[in-house]
Each structure stands twice: as C-alpha cells, then as structure tokens.
Subunit: 398 residues, 2 copies
C-alpha cells in the first residue's frame, strides 16, 4: 500500500492545521567562488530558527538522479506517486493557464505555425507572434462544434495555445499533428487505440477547418497540435486525507495543479505579502494550506544566484508570525542558479510541530539538512508525516 | 517505472564522460585490535581529496542484510535491479570464463567426479584434478552432437568446467544431475516445464555418452551437471542510456558481465597500471568506462587485512590524473577481511562532478560516508545519478 492508500485508510479529522510552504526550486548548488549554495549564502535567521526547532532532511522527488518537472514535483509533495500519476502535456498546459479542465475533456498543446503554398510547414512558431495576436486568433477559432464536440481555444503565450475538445465521450490516445520539423506537411492525427477513433476524426476535421479560417492570417496560417491528453484522474485530497485544503498561489500553473487534487483555490494577489495576507484571511476556513512561492525558481531558472539569495532573504523576513500546528517548508525540485534550470538534487525539507522530535540541525541549508532527523525521504512521504504531526492519522493495524 | 525505464525515457547524448571505478569488495569491517576498517587504516590522500570535493554515501546493493554475489553486485551498479534480472549459475559460470554465450544457448556448470563400479559417486570433485587434466578432458568431450544440439565443453579450474548446449531451440528449466552428496547415483535430468523436455533428453544422453568416453579416465570417470541456464536477456546500456560504454577488467568474469549489458570489452593487461593505461588509450572512443579492480576483493576473501590495506594504498597512488566529467568510486559488495568473504554491509560510494553538490565529508571511509550527501542509496540509483551529473538525463514530466 502506498502513501495514498495509507492516508485514505488511516486519516481522521483533527483540529490541527497544516501549512505546506513550497519554495519553488528551493535547493541549489555552491557558487564556484564561495563554495556556498544560495541558501547558505542568504541570511535567513527565521528559517534557521525554525530549523533549530523542527526536524529536517532531504527529499527525493522522483528518484535519485531524476530531474522533476513542475507537475511531477507538486504531485509528489501532495503525496501522489509521480511515476504512477502522470499528467499529459496537453492537460498540464491547460492546467498551466488555470483552465478548468473537466473530466472527459481532451486538451492539446497547440502552436500557430506558417504553412507555404503547398501546405508544408516553413515555421513551427509563426515567427513567434505577439501575445495579443495569439489571443486574437484564439478568439477567432474558439467555440467550433464538430459532431457533438465543442472545441475551446485559449491563448498561452506568443505562438502557443491550447485546444480543448469537450463532449461527445471522447477517449484520448492519438498521435500528434506536429511533425516537429519544417519542410514537411503536418501529420494526420491517428488513433493509437479503438476508443480514440472519434477524437482522431474530430481533431483532423478541426485542423482542416482552422486552415480555412486562418487562410488570410499569414504567418499564422496553420496550427500544429501535440500531447492530446485528458485530465488525470487524481483522488481528491479532501477524501483521502479528510482535510479541507486550500491553495494560495500567484502563478496559474500551481493553482491548476492544486485544483487537480481537489483544493479550493483562493485569489492570492501578485506578491509574497499578498499570499501571506490571503493565508491569514482564510486561516479559519481550512485546515490545510498549500502556499506556493514562485520567485525562488524564476531566479534559479534565470541563472541569477544573487537574486535567488535575495528572494530567500525576503521569504525569511516574511516568515514570522506563522503558527500553524504543522509547518512544512520545502521545494518541488532544486533549481540551482549555476545550472539555470530544474535539477535532480534532493530538496531540503523542514517540518515543525509540537511533536516533531527535533534534531541537532540549527541552519536551514542543503548541507546542514544532510544530518537532519528526517534523513533522506521520498517526497511522497512528506504528506503522511505532516498529517501524523497534526494528529490526523490513526494507528495502522490493531 | 524503475531506474532502467526512467533512463530509457530520459537519456540523451551529451559530451560528458563517466568513469565508474569498481573496487571489488570495497567495504570492510574494523580490525579487532585497532577498531579501524581496511579503508580507515590505509593512507589514501588522493581518495580523501576526492571525498572532500565530491559527494559520498553508502549503497545497498540488493537490500539490507543481503550479501550479493558478483553478478548481482555488478548488475546493480550498472542500473539493473538484481532481484529482477537474475543470472543462472551455468550462465554466470560461462560468463565467468569470458565464454561468448549466445541467445538460445543453455549453459551448465559441470564437475568432473569419481563413480564407483556400481555407478555411485564416491568423490564429487574427482580428487580435484589439475587445470591441465581438466583442459585435456574438456577437449576430449568438446563438440559432441546430439540431435540438432551441439555441446561445447570448456575448462574452468581444477575439476570445474562448463557444458554449453547450442542449437535445436532448447528451453531451459531442468533439474540438476548433481546429487550434491556421495554414495548415491547421479540424478536423472528432468524437465520442470514442457518447453524443457528437449533439453532434459539431450542432457541425459550427453551424460551417458560422457560416461563411456571417460571410462578409462578414473578418477575423472563421470560428470555432474547443475544450474542449467540461458543467458539472461538484459537490455543493452547503449540503447538504454545512449552511451558508448567500454569495460576495462583484467578478470574474465567482469568482462563477461560487462558484455551481457552490451559494453565493448578492451584487452586490459594484467595489472592496475595496465588498466589505467587502457583507459587513457580508449578515452576518446567512449563516453562511459567501467574499470574493475579485482585485488581488493581477493585480499578480503583471503582474510588478509594488511594486504587489502596495501592494495587500497596502491589504488590510491594510481588515482591522480583522472579528470572525467563524472567519477564514481564504489564497490560491488563489501568483502571484510575479518569475514573472509562477501558480506551484506553497504558499500562506500563517492561521486565527483562539477554539479555534485558536495558535502562536508573529507575522508574516504565507511564511517565518514555515513554522513555523506548521498545518504543511503540503492546501488541501482548510482547509474542515474552518474548520468544526471554528466547532463545525460532530461527532465521527467513537462
């Protein structure tokens, strides 16, 4: 039985409140000149104080050596095995713009592209059209009906959009129309299994109609679709954990991921201060809060070591005053500035509660947490640990 | 999805080179008088310097408490779950003499033995005949044909040989003829499943013909066969990891194991210096090197603590000058001199790379590595970690 099964069988309602604070891309790597990571460089007296009171460790998000995407990273933190529950590309893209993907919907990631007179693709990104142009074209294409299927089209950014096929009992499992190269025609969408025949037919008809609708829109006179996928069926956290969970996240992707596991999603403003304020305002209404801090990851992705340090210090300053029964501070993956992207390194995890059995760690850092009392754990075990510390799990076996 | 599946899905070609250096039987136990292990006794300034730069830990090869054989130990280091991919005794014996075991071959481990006049076994090892006598008898028996099956016979050492049944579409799954005791007749080989009927018949006919051929060869006038097994079907490392892998090993067993996972096998001479020279000569031709050092294990097996210490010091002296992008130094199992054999203790593992996130360990030893940044890992995760550090794995999930 995995974490989910155990939580489902053992969870009980208790008054304890849990705050899961995810600093996106939290872990780092040493700066070549100082030998210290972003966390070790930042002055973080409040986080260090929490580390002294709590119990710490390092979490493997997927497994050693594997770099997690954002979807996989968050599912693991919510307790869902990311190797078992995968989110298809189209579904993640829809989730990423906070689109309300419903059971039965099939979402595809789309590119506006340029086709030449003979129909061959000459630019897979239509010259990276502006966000405004993308939105205008999406409005033009949105709402088409083919048989019993309605096709919803929403802009993402530049040449990117999503097409969502709703209704008609469609099954997913079709190939891409995107040939992933230029100088060739888009591919026919074909079914990989009998249940997907309907979707393949509708998708090809949609692509043909779009070609006509975009005939005068050169360079954006064609579309390429890929990663057709339904919303993954994830058991809801409320049922599994007998929690009333809320998500506080500025960026749409993380609101979308939270919605997939059944969290209520609050309007969280645009800043860290807004997020903490939203937490305070909603504090009496829920007993589980997922609070997502995006900017640590953005700085890491930009390869900006110093900005990541500064953001960690800002987060540290914003921390005081939090007194949930269980506080977890961790990341969904590491994003070391020296790599400028997600990495495979395990993420620091700190758990504070009255019953956490503290260790001798006094500093919030990758190196200090190596000897923390949690040891090296799977990220999927963080939720059961948080639940246990909030006295929300009963005994296993008589 | 296990490590292999993840590597298959996520691996990409990169310029990084990986050196996996396996010190056979690396881990030890404290000397009763000094309280220090072989590693802790040896002066190893170069390995200690690497430990200070790299990230270390302890690896479980199979699982806690389980003592690995050489085949299982190496498969785990190559990323293959040793509980899933097992190598039958006959196949391992064939691999162990660098025999080119082909798909469809069935190999058995054989003993020359002594039978009395009534056919009962009086010595299971035929008085431990010499290597020369064994080779002579194998030449006598080699090349027999029974139905469409050709039987190849090769000497191993003393009374030990292999018999390989080639052709005729044989399936394995038969019982041993070796009764594992004296005073009884050899057993009839019987099929454990219908597909193995053919093999059982051919094996019994082979044993009968051998009795006649050896009639005048007392004390080696009979053979006992056991562990009939086909070559395990292991996906090749080149396909799984998009690597060009080479093996550098003086002892045939390890060349054979490397060949099973698709490595190119270089002639490596007879000494540690030869092995390092082979590495240098082949450095531009491959991007993955498995370099096997046997003598640490041999000293441990002989219960010779001081010799194991000395060999560790020799390895340390030979180390400088290596600058692969990723260097892993580990063992396939522990062989503590005080036990005089393989043991269940986890093996030290050190990984050095530009992106390894170092820890505070400054010494290459079992005790120091307890607090290493890799923590306690499964040996099957060493390959994904090495691949990640060489930037050869893409992100999991979008």
């Amino acid at each position: 039985m995995d974490s989910l099964g155990l939580m489902k069988n053992l969870s009980q309602v208790s008054p304890g409140k849990i705050l899961l604070m995810v600093l996106d891309g939290l872990g780092g790597l040493p700066h070549p000149e100082t030998g210290k990571t972003e966390l070790e460089t930042a002055r973080t007296p409040n986080l260090d104080g929490l580390a002294a009171k709590g119990v710490s460790g390092l979490a493997e998000v997927v497994s050693p050596g594997i770099t997690p995407g954002s979807g996989a990273g968050h599912l693991a933190l919510f307790g869902y095995d990311p190797l078992r529950f995968t989110i298809g590309r189209g579904a993640l893209e829809a989730v990423g713009i906070d689109f309300d993907l419903r059971p039965g919907d099939v979402a595809a990631r789309g590119n506006f592209a340029t086709a030449d007179r003979s129909g061959l693709i000459s630019d897979r990104r239509a010259g990276r059209i502006s966000n405004e142009k993308c939105a205008e074209l999406c409005r033009l294409l949105d709402g088409m009906a083919i048989d019993k299927v309605k096709i919803l089209v929403r802009p993402v950014r530049e040449h990117r959009f999503i097409a969502v096929f709703r209704g008609g009992g469609l099954g997913d499992g079709v190939t891409d129309s995107d040939p992933q190269q230029i100088g060739v025609a888009p591919k026919e969408v074909t079914a990989l299994r009998p249940e997907a025949e309907g979707l393949a037919g509708v998708a090809n008809e949609f692509i043909a109609r779009v070609r006509k609708a975009l005939a005068e829109q050169h360079p954006a006179n064609a579309v390429l679709l890929r990663g057709f996928a339904q919303r993954p069926e994830l058991p809801h956290m409320g049922e599994l954990c007998k929690l009333k969970p809320a998500a506080i996240a500025v960026y749409p992707m993380y609101r979308g991921l939270a919605r997939l596991v059944g969290m209520d999603v609050s309007e969280a403003g645009t800043t860290l201060e807004d997020e903490f304020k939203t937490l305070q305002e909603n504090y009496n209404k829920y007993d589980f809060f997922f609070l997502h801090v995006k900017w640590t990851d953005t700085a890491g992705e930009d390869g900006d070591f110093n900005r990541k340090v500064k953001i960690l210090e800002q987060v540290d300053t914003a921390m005081p005053g939090l007194k949930p029964d269980v506080l977890v501070v961790t990341g969904d993956h590491s994003t070391p500035a020296v790599l400028g992207g997600h990495s495979w390194h395990p993420v620091p995890v700190l758990l504070c509660s009255r019953y956490c059995r503290t260790d001798s760690v006094k500093e919030f850092s990758e190196t200090a947490f190596i000897t923390g009392g949690l040891g090296r754990i799977a990220a999927t075990h963080i939720m059961p640990l948080a639940m246990a510390n909030a006295l929300k799990l009963t005994k296993f076996g008589a």
